[in-house]
C-alpha cells in the first residue's frame, strides 16, 4: 500500500470530477481531495492524497496524463520572503487554508508554513512577488511519479 500527495492541473475545470472518480472505479485507488480550486488562469487545480497498490497507482497516473491532466508530486514548498513583503494583505484573500493571514490590529501579514498546501494561488496575485515556489530536495519515493 502506498500513499502520496499529488497536485493535478486540469485544463478545463469542469472535467475534473469525472476523471478523478474513474481512479476508484478502474484503478482501485482510494483518494482524499485535500483541495480543489479554479486558478486565475481558469485551470482546475486539485490536490489529492492517493492510496493504493503501487501498480495501480502507476496505471492511474498514466491514465490521468493521457487525458491531458498535469500530475506532479506535492514536493514543492512555498516560501514567503518576509523582507520583500509589503504587508498589503492581498494574498490573504485567496489562501484557502489561512496559511497567510492578517494579524489584527497591527495589520501585519503572517505566513504559517505548516498550514500551506502549496496550491500556489497566492504566487501570481502578490504584486511584489514576495512568494516563491521552491522544489524540495528529491526524495526517493517521488522519483517515479
Amino acid at each position: 500500500m502506498l500513499s502520496k500527495k499529488v497536485v493535478l492541473t486540469f485544463p478545463q475545470p469542469l472535467l475534473d470530477k469525472a476523471i478523478v472518480y474513474r481512479l476508484i472505479k478502474d484503478y482501485n485507488l482510494i483518494f482524499n481531495i485535500l483541495q480543489a480550486r479554479i486558478t486565475p488562469d481558469e485551470e482546475g487545480v486539485m490536490i489529492l492524497e492517493i492510496r493504493g497498490k503501487r501498480e495501480d497507482y502507476k496505471a492511474g497516473v498514466d491514465y490521468l496524463r493521457e487525458t491531458g491532466v498535469k500530475v506532479r508530486p506535492l514536493n514543492e514548498s512555498i516560501f514567503w520572503r518576509e523582507s520583500e513583503c509589503t504587508h498589503c494583505g492581498l494574498c490573504t484573500d485567496v489562501c484557502p487554508t489561512q496559511a497567510l493571514t492578517l494579524e489584527r490590529p497591527e495589520m501585519r501579514v503572517r505566513f504559517e508554513k505548516k498550514r500551506c498546501i502549496a496550491c500556489e494561488l497566492c504566487i501570481s496575485l502578490c504584486p511584489v512577488r514576495a512568494i516563491e515556489r521552491r522544489v524540495n530536495k528529491k526524495r526517493k519515493s517521488d522519483e517515479d511519479i
Binding site: 486565475p40 488562469d41 509589503t86 504587508h87 498589503c88 494583505g89 492581498l90 490573504t92 484573500d93 485567496v94 492578517l102 489584527r104 490590529p105 497591527e106 495589520m107 501585519r108 501579514v109 501570481s124 496575485l125 504584486p127 511584489v128 512577488r129
Partner: protein
C-alpha cells in the same frame, strides 16, 4: 495657537512633542482637546500604497560624442524623450515593448516602469538604448550603455502628478465572472471587497481641508525627503463628506523629491494580475498642531471614515458609478463586511502596517531634530 516657526524652534531644541495619527486618538481621549493642543506640536501620518500616477525625470550624463535623444528605452521600457537633449520621463505604468499584455488573460505584467524605478533606486545596472537623428551639435545617432542611477545620471527627480488620495472607493464585483482590476482580483457575486487607504493614518484624512498642506510642505517621500507641489490631478474639493471627511476620492497631491536619496524599501514595483504595472510609494506628512481645530482633525478614526462601495464589473467601467453602500474603515479592517445580506471578506491593497512604520520614522526624524516643518503656500481647498 502656535506658529510653524515656534514648532521648528522646539524641534531644534529637541523639545517638540511628536506623536503619530494613531497615538493622538488616545491622548485626546485622556487629556481632552484643549490640553492636547497645547502639549502636542506635530502629528505624523503615513501611507504606503499603489500610486500609478508616478514617474521619474532623468537627466543622463552626456556620452562623447553627444546625443539629442529622440527615443529612449531602459530595460526595453520606453521613456518619454520629447524634452531637451538628455532629459526623459519614465512613467510607473509603462510596459516593455515585448510584454504579452492581456493577450493571455489575465496578464502577469512581470516588469514595468515601477519595477525599473525600484531597480534604479536599488543601485542596479540597467540597459539603456537610445536613438537620435543627429545634428551639428549632437552628432550621435545611437547609444547603448549600461547605466546606474548614481553613476550615470546627473539628476533623477521623482515627480508624481497624483499621489496620496484622500479617500478612495471600495470595489466589488456584481457579475458572475472573476474580474481583474487596479483594485485587485474581484471575485464574482460580491465574493470580496477591496479597499485602498491607510484610513486614520492617511495624510489627507488628517488635514481634510488642507489647512497646513500645500505647495512647499516638506514630506517623507520614498524613504527620503520630498515636497508637496500642490494639488494633484483629479483633486476634488466639492465632494460629499461625513464628519468633514470625504466619502469619495477627494483631494490629491502632486509631489516631488530627489530619487537618489530614496530607498527601494519605500518604492516598490508592482504587478497587478490582469491589469498592469505600477509603483508602491511611501509618503508621510507631518501635521503641525497650530490650533485646536487642527488637533481635532487629527483625531479622526477608522470608524468615522466612510467609503462608498462601487461595482467594478459594470458601473465603474461604463462611468455609471452608483453607491451600493457605505462602509467605514473599522469594518473593512476587521476583514469582514456585511453587504447584500451576506458577510464578505474585505481585503486591503495598501499596507497599514507599513504606513504606520512611515509615521514612526517621520516622528523619529522630527524628534531627533533632523526634519523641520515648512510653511506651505497655497494651502486650503
Amino acid at each position: 495657537m502656535k506658529t510653524i516657526r515656534e514648532i521648528n524652534e522646539k524641534i531644534k531644541q529637541g523639545k517638540a512633542v511628536v506623536v503619530n495619527a494613531e497615538e493622538i486618538i488616545d491622548i485626546v481621549e485622556q487629556k481632552g482637546i484643549k490640553r492636547s493642543a497645547e502639549e502636542v506640536d506635530v502629528v505624523t501620518t503615513g501611507t504606503f500604497a499603489p500610486m500609478c500616477s508616478s514617474g521619474v525625470f532623468l537627466n543622463l550624463k552626456q556620452p562623447k560624442p553627444k546625443i539629442k535623444i529622440q527615443r529612449v528605452w531602459l530595460n526595453n521600457i520606453e521613456a518619454y524623450a520629447g524634452l531637451a537633449a538628455a532629459d526623459f520621463y519614465l512613467g510607473a505604468t509603462q510596459l516593455p515593448e515585448e510584454d504579452p499584455l492581456n493577450k493571455v488573460h489575465p496578464g502577469r505584467f512581470v516588469y514595468g516602469g515601477g519595477h525599473l524605478i525600484e531597480d534604479l533606486v536599488a543601485g542596479k545596472e540597467v540597459e539603456l538604448r537610445a536613438i537620435a537623428y543627429g545634428t551639428d551639435c549632437y552628432p550621435r545617432r545611437e547609444l547603448r550603455q549600461k547605466v546606474r542611477l548614481k553613476r550615470d545620471f546627473n539628476d533623477a527627480i521623482l515627480l508624481n502628478p497624483r499621489n496620496c488620495y484622500q479617500n478612495y472607493n471600495a470595489a466589488v464585483n456584481l457579475s458572475s465572472k472573476i474580474i481583474y482590476t487596479y483594485m485587485g482580483m474581484l471575485k464574482p457575486n460580491l465574493g470580496n471587497i477591496t479597499y485602498c487607504s491607510a484610513g486614520q493614518l492617511s495624510p489627507l484624512l488628517n488635514d481634510p481641508f488642507c489647512r497646513t498642506i500645500g505647495l512647499g510642505t516638506r514630506i517623507f517621500l520614498g524613504g527620503g525627503i520630498g515636497y508637496v507641489l500642490g494639488k494633484g490631478t483629479q483633486s476634488r474639493a466639492e465632494v460629499r463628506r461625513r464628519k468633514g471627511v470625504p466619502v469619495v476620492p477627494g483631494l490629491t497631491l502632486s509631489v516631488k523629491g530627489d530619487l537618489k536619496q530614496m530607498d527601494r524599501y519605500w518604492l516598490r514595483g508592482l504587478s497587478f494580475l490582469g491589469y498592469g504595472a505600477s509603483l508602491m510609494v511611501g509618503i508621510g506628512i507631518p501635521i503641525p498642531i497650530i490650533d485646536e481645530e487642527m488637533l481635532r482633525y487629527t483625531t479622526i478614526r477608522d470608524r468615522d471614515i466612510y467609503v462608498q462601495v462601487i461595482d467594478y464589473s459594470r458601473d465603474y467601467p461604463y462611468g455609471e458609478e452608483k453607491v451600493l453602500a457605505e462602509v467605514n474603515y473599522q469594518q473593512l479592517k476587521s476583514g469582514k463586511v456585511r453587504l447584500g445580506g451576506k458577510e464578505i471578506p474585505a481585503v486591503p491593497l495598501s499596507s497599514y502596517f507599513r504606513a504606520k512604520e512611515i509615521a514612526e520614522i517621520l516622528k523619529k526624524w522630527i524628534s531627533q531634530g533632523k526634519f523641520f516643518l515648512t510653511e506651505a503656500v497655497e494651502t486650503g481647498v
